[in-house]
């Protein structure tokens, strides 16, 4: 397992957002976490990335994450592509990508990978990132995360707010990364797409686990279909 949590908790003051989750991501696995708004999906990733305080056990590549700063986690290859893209709007596309390699100190390998995946970004590398379309900004956010040379790539709502054709492109990209054997942990509201993509998935409600299983199996599950897919 590249990532394993046990009784993982994230709280904001007295409000518990993640209430003791035990999840795992394998060495060569794509895992999805789905659930309604407020289920604790974003808090889970924020806790794993070290953006918010978390308690309980979390082991990444065999070592505990406890006490590690977010910068230290990025350095070890635990990389988050955050919700809402969070690119640097006034910097150029290239500067955004270079910043992705901030903790790596080398730009070359990441840049090659990003250019191959997103030729569009390569074309626009001198453009100010804030002027990119929503879909392009999402590409940039994923590209920036790849520049950190992730050994576990976490993505928070990568398809949020995108046009359907861009949603397809995002999941095609994830599939391409999956084929490059990068372990992926993706949080999504688009349950149908996420379950179809993932090897395994967890379903959260109110900060707790309600179901887990192979993505295709959950996709076929009647209770899941009615609760999360609206079918």
């Amino acid at each position: 397992m590249v990532l394993e949590t046990s009784d993982f908790r994230v709280s904001y003051g007295r409000i518990a957002a993640v209430k003791g989750l035990s999840i795992a991501v394998g060495e060569d696995e794509a895992v999805a976490v789905i659930g309604a708004n407020g289920a604790g999906k974003t808090s889970l990733l924020a806790g794993l990335a070290g953006l918010v305080d978390a308690s309980g056990g979390a082991t990444y590549k065999g070592a505990s994450l406890a006490g590690l700063s977010s910068a230290e986690r990025v350095k070890r290859g635990l990389v988050l592509c955050p919700e809402g893209r969070r690119i640097f709007p006034e910097l150029s596309v290239e500067e955004n990508l270079r910043l992705g390699a901030f903790r790596r100190g080398r730009v070359g390998p990441g840049l090659e990978r990003v250019n191959a995946l997103f030729p569009r970004l390569a074309e626009r590398r001198r453009q100010t990132a804030g002027y990119l379309s929503g879909g392009e900004q999402q590409m940039l956010a994923i590209g920036r995360a790849l520049m950190s040379e992730p050994e576990l790539l976490m993505l928070d709502e990568p398809s949020l707010g995108l046009a359907p054709v861009m949603v397809d492109l995002v999941f095609e990209t994830l599939a391409a990364l999956r084929a490059q054997h990068i372990p992926i942990l993706v949080v999504e509201q688009n349950a149908a797409k996420a379950l179809a993509f993932a090897d395994r998935a967890y379903i959260l409600a109110n900060g707790s686990l309600v179901k887990e299983g192979p993505g295709r199996e959950l996709l076929a599950d009647d209770s899941v279909r009615s609760a999360y897919l609206g079918i």
Binding site: A49, G50, L51, S69, S70, A71, R73, V74, K75, V79, L80, C81, P82, G84, R86, I87, F88, P89, E90, L91, E95, R98, L99, G100, F102, R103, T128, G130, R144, A145, M147, S148
Partner: protein
């Protein structure tokens, strides 16, 4: 006084405003905190430099010590105070830094007393005197730039260029820009936001100490020596757009020139209306306040505003 002479007087004055604005917007742009104690932080640094000077008799050493003390004060403010009140509203931040302003003033009074202290000029340069041909300068009075003004201009230019280069060519500079544009984005690429914030605070206050040592020979070292200048720096930064460092410096220079030109125009006006007992210098502050109000009313994001956010 000719218009050219007014501009020549306004430039170094404006450079001082610009440096004050630079420090203010460096801290505000990066961390989102408006430091109302900026001038007084710089003032403490100058007092410290004065003490080191009295003790060691070495001006370079004293100034280096003052700048270092200012940087330390800035980092300390960030680490000890600002980390604790993180996430406060703008109003809350204002109260906190206003409180600091008063505390620093009190501290200076307790430690160094109320007597204004003398501070020597950093360098003594001869003034520049130009006698321009009558076609350019009809009244025939030569243009003069004081030696200390030349030094201020040169230093302001060097500091601005150093910062521009730092932001353009270094990885840390890029990280600072990134952090100012999106904190979460900065954290997920592994930028240590705490370190970047401390850097902004340290260098922001250090600039203010440099500025303080520049004006100290004129104002003398007193607890209130930088209070007015802070207001001007504030205006420069508002004028230039708070998140743009370049804007703060240019805004300051424009402001300095504008102030002298307005004073020139008012002089002419008062002379024409025979109100000879009115001193135009009394109206300089009004000019500044009019600029601040006009900027906020017409273009609240400043003339060099950033395109994708409005923090103010």
């Amino acid at each position: 006084m000719s218009i050219l002479q007014a501009i020549l007087l306004g430039l170094p004055q404006g450079a001082l405003y610009g440096l004050m604005g630079l420090g203010l917007s460096l801290i505000f742009g990066t961390t989102g905190v408006m430091n109302f104690a900026q001038g007084n932080s710089g003032m403490l640094g100058v007092f410290f430099a004065w003490s080191v000077l009295a003790w060691t008799k070495s001006l370079p050493l004293a100034i280096a010590a003052g700048i270092a003390a200012g940087a330390l004060l800035g980092v300390g403010t960030d680490r000890i105070l600002m980390k604790k009140v993180k996430g406060l509203t703008h109003g809350g931040m204002l109260i906190v830094t206003l409180g600091l302003l008063m505390a620093y003033e009190g501290l200076a009074l307790i430690v160094w007393g109320t007597e204004p202290l003398l501070f020597p000029d950093l360098v003594t340069l001869p003034p520049l005197i130009w006698t321009l041909p009558p076609s350019v300068n009809p009244d025939g009075i030569p243009l003069i730039v004081a030696g200390s003004d030349l030094f201020i201009l040169a230093l302001a230019l060097v500091i601005s260029l150093l910062f521009a280069a730092f932001f353009k060519f270094t990885k840390i500079g890029l990280a600072l820009k990134a952090r100012s544009q999106d904190e979460v984005g900065a954290r997920v690429v592994g930028i240590s936001v705490g370190a970047v914030d401390s850097l902004a605070w340290g260098s922001g206050v250090a600039i203010c100490v440099v500025l303080g040592t520049l004006v100290a020979p004129k104002t003398m070292v007193t607890p209130g020596m930088l209070t007015t200048l802070q207001l001007y720096g504030f205006t420069a930064a508002v004028f230039g757009g708070f998140s743009s460092l370049f804007g703060a410096v240019v805004g300051g220079v424009i402001l300095g020139v504008l102030e002298k030109l307005a004073s020139l125009g008012l002089d002419a006006l008062f002379a024409a209306t025979h109100a000879a007992n009115v001193n135009s210098a009394d109206f300089q502050l009004s000019v500044i306040l009019i600029v601040i109000i006009a900027t906020l009313a017409i273009r609240p994001t400043g003339i060099f505003a950033s395109r994708f956010k409005g923090k103010v």
